[in-house]
């Protein structure tokens, strides 16, 4: 009778041993990234980023008087206006089917026969999706810098752009975390795609408005609230700490209405995004660990 030991028996010295899990995740990320770079989806995403860049370039050229008055105004409107869309679409395209696709396309059956932890597969695929999405962000940034160089004769990058890029990467991590979580919920890719798109393009914004309008509290738990720091960092004065509350009185249907707007601070936004990344990654991995390849 075989003993159900806690420690595995030592393998004979002559046998191969699989590398450490981190090294395996690196290998997996490398091959998965190669798959992304050769795929149609990569070309489609490049097309989308070029289209967004072209639209913004045309808008800035047309409204040069108001949008390109200063580097801050320019980068604020360009990066603040486009990065969010590039991030969400990249995350959906590279991460939407990352886990569900392993079941649906049966590629998971190829990997699961190997001496890998499931967490290794999850991390490897996450890193590959992050790098593919990063390539898209860098392409968008290149278009942005090209425009900036044209309007401001080279140089002069405001420090706010650097902060906004860091925030954008944190947001990418949070969106990918959520995308992987949604993808882990299903064994059919399209559900993961649709849920991520709906949530990040309209769902979280609606939730945020409902919380502010009905519950009247700061919507710190909503990712779209935190992501607004990517654009707000270009609006002086920069709030580095927690949320600023702005109470405004407006005329509405003949009478005054007092409305409250919450603007997240940079640190607050960054922390919210990182918490989203950690929580969704853990939840997604927990689901994947329990999912059966039936």
């Amino acid at each position: 009778m075989a003993a159900a030991t806690t420690d595995p028996p030592a393998l004979p010295a002559t046998r191969l041993r699989p590398p450490a899990s981190l090294e395996q995740a690196t290998h997996l990320a490398r091959y998965q990234l190669r798959e992304y770079l050769r795929s149609l989806r990569f070309l489609v995403m490049v097309g989308i980023v070029l289209a967004i860049g072209a639209i913004l370039t045309t808008l800035v050229a047309h409204f040069r008087g108001s949008l390109a008055t200063s580097p801050i105004a320019f980068y604020g409107s360009f990066w603040g206006g486009g990065a969010n869309g590039v991030i969400v679409l990249s995350a959906v395209i590279f991460g939407g089917d990352a886990i569900a696709g392993e079941f649906q396309n049966k590629t998971g059956y190829f990997l699961m026969g190997l001496p890998l932890r499931r967490s290794t597969v999850y991390v490897g695929k996450f890193v590959a999706a992050f790098l593919a999405a990063t390539a898209m962000m860098l392409l968008f940034l290149a278009i942005l810098v090209g425009n900036g160089a044209y309007y401001f004769h080279g140089g002069l990058f405001p420090w706010q752009l650097g902060v906004a890029i860091v925030l954008a990467f944190a947001y990418l991590g949070a969106v990918l975390g959520a995308t992987f979580l949604f993808s882990s919920l299903f064994k059919t890719s399209v559900y993961g795609f649709v849920l991520t798109l709906v949530m990040f393009l309209i769902g979280f914004t609606i939730l945020q408005d409902l919380i502010v309008g009905l519950v009247k509290i700061q919507p710190w738990m909503i990712i779209s609230y935190a992501s607004s720091t990517i654009g707000s960092v270009f609006s002086p004065p920069v709030n580095w700490g927690l949320a600023a509350t702005v109470t405004q009185e407006r005329a509405f249907m003949g009478g005054p209405v007092v409305g409250t707007t919450y603007v997240p601070g940079i640190a607050e936004g960054l922390v919210i995004m990182l918490v989203y990344l950690v929580v969704t990654a853990i939840a997604g991995l927990w689901l994947f660990e329990r999912e059966e390849f039936t």
């Binding site: 595995p8 046998r15 026969g113 390849f293």
Partner: protein
Amino acid sequence: MAPPSIETQGLTKRFGRFTALQDLSLKIEGTKCVGFLGPNGAGKTTTLKLLADMIFPTRGACWINGISVQEHRRGALTDAGVLIESPEIYPSLTPNEALEMVADLRGVPPADRRDRIRTVLGEVKMDDWANQKVGRFSKGMKQRINIAAALVHDPDVLILDEPSTGLDPRGMAEVRAIVRDLKKSRRLIFMSSHILSEVVDVCDEVALIDKGKLLFHDTLDNVTRRFAEGHGSVDVTLARPLDGGDGRAKLAALPGVSDVTDLDPKRWRLKFTGGVDGQERLLEALVALRIGVVSVAESESALEEVYLSQISRGD
């Protein structure tokens, strides 16, 4: 003493109210090919998926080379090659790249990698396609790459789930030939199948499962002998056609023969009684007939009869 290559104890798997596998205890040792036989839905793939930790047991446990699959999947699968349900490979990768990935993940030393990949691609006769994208391959070609992936680290244990299912007759024959070749190297092959001729062709032992329960596990010879209850069946091939009516009468008159079937004018199936002794007497009498006997082989129908009798007994 080395632990069994594959062992399961009380392995049970339920999907909701449906019991796919019930209390399976199996111990497989040595270097041989074991056919895991059963009708569709018997629990074959469920067992193999449990062995590969793709699904989780409701009760019981399994070990590969003495290492618990459920507790140490990495260790248990280190020296096993697994092919379950015709997996798909990332379509933009070439066979070389896909096998490099497997070699990297399994820890094949870089110095040996190229040779190992070339060897296994040769074994599955895909060396001419090594640099073409897998996405363009037929199902049979993909399956051969999957077999190569299971072999790239030269495992001691090979777990194959119906490796020829879904392939055209040529693909089936090719995969079967590959498995037969793999038997030449010293390893355990545990192969599920519902194709009796495939099991007879390549396996040394057979484990029959039906409705989630193991019915028996023994060598092919023992199984056919034990369940045939003294009856045997051989296929006789002749150098020239035997005259229908007269020929049949001659064969039916041989000692111990209880039934004669003409498979074609040159091939006849004889059922006989008397076990091994009866078979010996029959062969001597056959040769003495001088009707141009060129071969006598144990009939595939022997296992078929056992299979049908055992499966129908479970109904």
